[in-house]
């Protein structure tokens, strides 16, 4: 006989994607887990120096944690670090990109929704970002795979407007319609068409069927990288209905020509909100 009131407790691994302070010394932790989807819980007294969990439940760490389910915020305890991703913690560029990856993973996850492929993708991408010399392409690979896993695979072989097979040439991309548009078939009244050069299209197709290791060694020119960024981000914004907050910082770190220029004069919030 089990009492219905007895709380369920389980141990899971997960990646910490969000933290915020609660009360005097507690911390609310959001994790992405393979089986339980997004898990939000309270780590009691995590900000106190004596805490056994505070050092583990930090952003961008792969941890094991014990979860005690309650009706509202779960209780988190007995945390230990499985992978601290050190390489993402001592480099601003890698940190900013990993933040983008983790925010996107969170936005594409749901509570109590098992998503092992997404979790695996998140872990693989963080591992690659730690060491890669080609972070741009790792990010593009992640964006493409996340769209595919979520059922928003971009249409890359036929024109989404006319249905005809696309000739190997420069074309356009429509995030609204979720794919390439034949350069001749510019739909009336559609302003948000993005340029997609032949090389960019080849890279999009490559990304749609490669693995992360192959993506990590594929180099693209500056123009292609810029087009890939615009196309994949536009598609993600379209799916999510808004931008990601971490984009601003990632772009700022990446475009800083040297590290001795000052922050730009603040003009409102930098958040995509």
């Amino acid at each position: 006989m089990t009492s219905k009131r007895r709380p369920v407790t389980y141990t899971t691994d997960g990646v910490v994607v969000r933290t915020s302070n609660l009360g005097e010394a507690d911390r609310i932790i959001t994790l992405i887990t393979p089986v339980h989807g997004i898990v939000r819980g309270v780590a009691k007294a995590a900000r106190k120096p004596g805490s056994k969990v505070g050092g583990h439940l930090d952003l961008l760490k792969h941890v094991s944690v014990s979860v005690r389910e309650t009706r509202t915020l779960h209780g988190l305890s007995q945390a230990s670090t499985l992978n601290g991703f050190r390489g993402l913690r001592d480099d601003l560029d890698r940190f900013s990109r990993a933040s983008y990856i983790s925010e996107m993973s969170e936005r594409f996850s749901v509570e109590n929704g098992a998503n092992q492929p997404l979790f695996r993708l998140l872990l693989d991408t963080l591992e690659s970002l730690e060491v890669t010399t080609n972070p741009e392409m790792i990010i593009h690979f992640f964006e493409m795979r996340l769209l595919q896993l979520s059922g928003f695979s971009p249409e890359l072989s036929r024109c989404v407007e006319t249905g005809v097979d696309l000739e190997p040439a420069n074309h356009l991309y429509s995030a609204d319609r979720g794919g390439l548009v034949n350069s001749d078939a510019r739909p009336v009244g559609e302003s948000a068409l993005l340029p997609a050069s032949l090389n960019t299209i080849k890279l999009l197709r490559f990304l749609s069927r490669t693995d992360i290791a192959q993506a990590g060694v594929m180099k693209a020119g500056e123009d292609e990288n810029r087009q890939l960024s615009r196309i994949l981000r536009a598609q993600i914004h379209h799916v999510l209905d808004r931008g990601l907050r971490s984009e601003a910082f990632m772009d700022e770190v990446r475009t800083r020509p040297s590290h001795n220029d000052e922050p730009k004069a603040s003009s409102g919030s930098s958040s995509g909100n």
């Binding site: 933040s99 907050r245 971490s246 603040s266």
Partner: protein, 214 residues
């Protein structure tokens, strides 16, 4: 409305105060109730003094023009203290961290309060912190060391790295509190001797890397 959830049986004015206490950091429903019933028994003049004190901090407290710490006027007591060492600035996240570092009694320089840390997933970037004000203070060359005392967690470390890259090239030494503060804990709660030791054995942040404690 919410009061019914926390104090379902209390009279509306009582429930309203319980609810107000409950919104404060660190106050659970039980404490909120206890504080409210304590105030009910409080003499009239004491209660008036209490509410005037609350209104007073909203009307009279401002941020120091120089260091952004909480102050009574345009200049805080620390910035106005000529005895303090003006060649060093200790950068902290929040005003409460100034209190913590002061408590350790080993630091006699000035402060700078960022009012936050870089937090990409929350959309908080460098421009949302008091960083331009910090740069402004370094312009005349009198400051030789900036000690970054942000919390020992990822966002605190990233902010320290950013500050190093921002002001290191100006020829100002940028140091970070030594390891020893448990990672994940807040400086606000560090005990005085640990914080004193971390301050005394602070180390320069290397150019591309930060010493993120594990």
């Amino acid at each position: 409305m919410a009061p019914s959830e926390i104090a379902p049986s209390a009279a509306p004015p009582v429930a309203r105060l319980i609810e107000a206490f409950h919104r404060l950091p660190g106050i659970g429903p039980k404490s909120a109730q206890r504080l409210t019933y304590h105030l009910i028994r409080m003499p009239q003049e004491e209660a008036e003094e209490f509410s005037a004190a609350i209104l007073g901090i909203k009307e009279k407290v401002v941020l120091c023009n120089t260091c952004a710490n909480i102050a009574e006027s345009e200049e805080c007591a620390i910035c106005g203290d000529l005895q303090r060492d003006g060649t060093r600035i200790c950068v902290v996240e929040e005003p409460l961290d100034v209190v913590a570092v002061e408590r350790a009694r080993v630091y006699s320089g000035k402060y700078h309060v960022l009012h936050g840390v870089i937090s990409p997933v929350n959309g908080i970037g460098p421009n949302d912190l008091k960083l331009r004000e910090l740069l402004e203070r370094l312009r005349d060359g009198s400051v030789t060391e900036v000690i970054v005392a942000t919390n020992p967690n990822l966002e605190g470390e990233a902010t320290a790295m950013y500050i190093q890259q921002l002001i290191g090239p100006l020829g100002v030494k940028v140091t970070r509190l030594a390891r020893g503060l448990p990672s994940g804990s807040d400086i606000e709660y560090a005990d005085d001797s640990t914080l004193a030791h971390a301050l005394e054995s602070r180390a320069e942040i290397p150019q591309r890397q930060s010493d993120s404690p594990e």
